[in-house]
Structures are given as C-alpha cells and as structure tokens.
Symmetry: C2
Subunit: 196 residues, 2 copies
DNA sequence: CCTTTATGCGTGTGGGCACTTGCATGAATC
DNA sequence: GATTCATGCAAGTGCCCACACGCATAAAGG
C-alpha cells in the first residue's frame, strides 16, 4: 500500500485541500493582507497550528493556493472542439467558456491585479490570461489564413478577450451584471462584423 | 483678512494636500492595508500625529484621498468637442483620452477593484467609470439615431471601453504594453466596422 | 502493544500598527 | 507682549497577528 503512504489520520491530503479551499475563499473576499491565518484555519475546520504544520508560513500557503487555483488549461481543447465552419457559433461558445472561467476566478484576478500594482514581495505571475491571449491569437491566425476574418490576430485576441474581461472584472465598476448569453452574442456580433 | 482664516503656520491647506498626495502614492503602490499611517506621514514630511489631527482616522484619510483623486469629469466636454462628421477620428480621440486617463488612475482602479472584491468596510463607490459608460452610451445613441452606427448603445459603450480598460488594467496580466496610437486606431477600426 | 503520524488545544511571544497624550516651539494675529 | 493655533516630538497603550511550543489524543501499521 504505497498508494498514499499516509499513517495516522485518514485524510492528510483532504486536510490540505480543505485549507487551500478555505484560503482561496477568504483571500478572494478580503484580500491577502486582510485575511488572517486564524480565519483560514477556522473556516477549514482545522486548528491554526495544523495550517502552519502543512505550509510553514502564510506566504507559502498563498503560493500553494495560487498554484492550485489557476490555469485555463482546457481552453485549447475547447478551441479544438469547434465546428470551424460557423464562426458566430464558435465565437459564442468560446465567449461563454471564457466568461465562465473568468467569473470563477474573478476575485482572484482582481486581487492579483492589485498586488501586481502594489509590487509586493511574493506574488508569482498569473500566467493563465496571457496563455489565453496567445492561444486565441493562434485560433484567429488560422481564420485569417482561411480568409474568413481579417486583421492582426494578436490585436483581435486582445479585443475579444478585453471585452469579456472587463465585463467580468469591472462588474461593480461599470454597474453591469454577469453577462447573459444574449449579451455575449451581441458582443460576438459586433466583433465578428468588425473583423470580417 | 478672512481670506484663509488660518493662524499659526502658513500652509494648513498645503499640509493637508501633501498628506493626501503621499497617501495616494503609497496606497497605489502597496494597497490600503499594506500602507501604514507612519509611512504616509513620513513621505509627506509630516509628523504622524499631524496626520491624525487632520483626518482623525486612517479610513477617513482614505475616503478624503479617494474623493480628491477620482473622476472623469471632463469627458463630456471632450465628447462635445468632437467633429461629429468623422467617426473614426472622433473615436480615436475618445480612445486616446480614455486610455490616458485610465493609465493615470490604473493603480487606484486596480486597488479599488480588489477591495471591491474584498467587500471591506469602507470602500465608497468609485463612480468615475460607470459615469463614463453612461456618457459614452449617450454619444452612441445620437450616432445610432443619425444612422451612422447600429446596435445597442449601452452594449457598444461597454465593448468600446472594455477593450480600452483591459488593455490598460491588464497590462501585466496580458503581457501587453501601454497602447500606442496605432494600436488604438486598430481597435477603433475593428469596433467601427463592427457597429457600422 | 508499541510506534508513528496527523491533528487538536492552549498558551505564549515578539512585532507592528492605529491611535493617543502631553509638552515644547514658532509663527501669525491682536 | 500675550494669545492662538498648527505642528514637531517622544513615549505610550491596546490590539491583532504570524508563528512557535508542548502536550494530549486517536487512528493506522508493524
């Protein structure tokens, strides 16, 4: 039974993940500096000492959490699954996917943004979005090559994602809600006309 | 001499504004929770006690600072100064104006975003951007009525600003630089085709 | 049964930070 | 010259927080 190689209590890994989840939920709501290790432990249903036994320090916990909660890994597979013939439908699907993923990472992105601006100690880069841009630009490149779209793929990718990004991240700022499919389709429509 | 009604030292108002400036610079870089009143006072070249005598509390200082540093008030006048005949040139000017203003408020917007996400105590709304959307939507409404553009003005405004917003705010996130005029013109081009 | 291991629990501790207080000073006003 | 007022300065208070330590406990394996 090398399987988990754990002795003592059953869920070592589960405890760890409960802490990570609690940390994410709290950091999202209150920011990194606004969240105490005590709170995280309490929310995870775990003793504060256990938290430190697992992660050593608050900032190590932060890094572990970010690592566990980031990434748009499946984006490429979504692109691969597109019809390729109906651009409007394809972009609509992409938009939906991106928006949904962004919503689930909204708070974390905001906090990341702010901490990027603050230039503080230990904020590792958050590569997800940049990867998104580059993958989407690749997609547009094929479309431009095929002649169904026109323009600079990179600029197109940034425009497309930018609209979605701002509609998700700037919710409170703009006073807009989480975008419904009809809104997304409107965006896709404007964008498609723009690059056709 | 009721003019300033101040006794004692000369620059009461100047001290106040020095504190506000220092506060803004530091809060932008390190966030509200990451900045200490001691630092603010030091940077302002003022004793910490003086800071509290002026503002009473850190959060009151925060509010005063936000009040002093926000607003896109002149946007309407920029809109009013447009030619009205050359949509591309007009949108290009608007884009430049908005981007420049956003860059100068970038850090504060990021911090605001994060603290909005955090749902903390005393973050008063940051009305600037919402006002922008509504003003721009008004502009588009006239264009739609004139028949030179088509679509939902509100959605159009959000798309247009969203692209600019994300290109400014998501600089590090997307890996893009501050947009040059050529880039802005590319955006305007896509957008204009999209709504024409 | 004995050891190992993960956890709970309580009790610090050292440091930082918001905020206070009392006093001295020096400029402007009268 | 006396008063007023904004500020400097120094010391302090109370709180909170990251993090440590020691001990009890209970589950799992040999």
């Amino acid at each position: 039974m090398i399987v988990s190689s754990q002795r003592g209590h059953a869920g070592v890994e589960e405890t760890r993940s409960r802490i990570l989840t609690a940390a994410r939920e709290l950091f999202e709501r209150k920011g990194t500096r606004g969240t105490t290790t005590r709170e995280v432990a309490e929310r995870a249903g775990v003793n504060e000492a256990t938290l430190f036994r697992h992660f050593g320090s608050k900032s190590a916990l932060l890094n572990a959490m970010r690592e566990a909660a980031c990434g748009f890994e499946t984006f490429r597979s979504v692109v691969a699954s597109l019809s390729g013939t109906d651009n409007a439908a394809d972009l609509s699907r992409l938009a939906r996917y991106v928006v949904d993923r962004m919503i689930s990472k909204r708070a974390m992105m905001c906090v990341s943004l702010a901490e990027d601006a603050t230039g503080t100690d230990d904020a590792p880069e958050f590569r997800g979005p940049a990867q998104l841009v580059s993958d989407l630009a690749d997609y547009f490149t094929t479309k431009v090559a095929a002649g169904t779209m026109h323009g600079d793929p990179d600029l197109m990718a940034r425009c497309f994602l930018g609209i979605l990004f701002s509609s998700v991240v700037g919710r409170k700022l703009w006073g807009s809600d989480v975008p419904e499919q009809a809104t997304l389709d409107g965006v896709v429509n404007i964008f498609l006309n723009g690059v056709r």
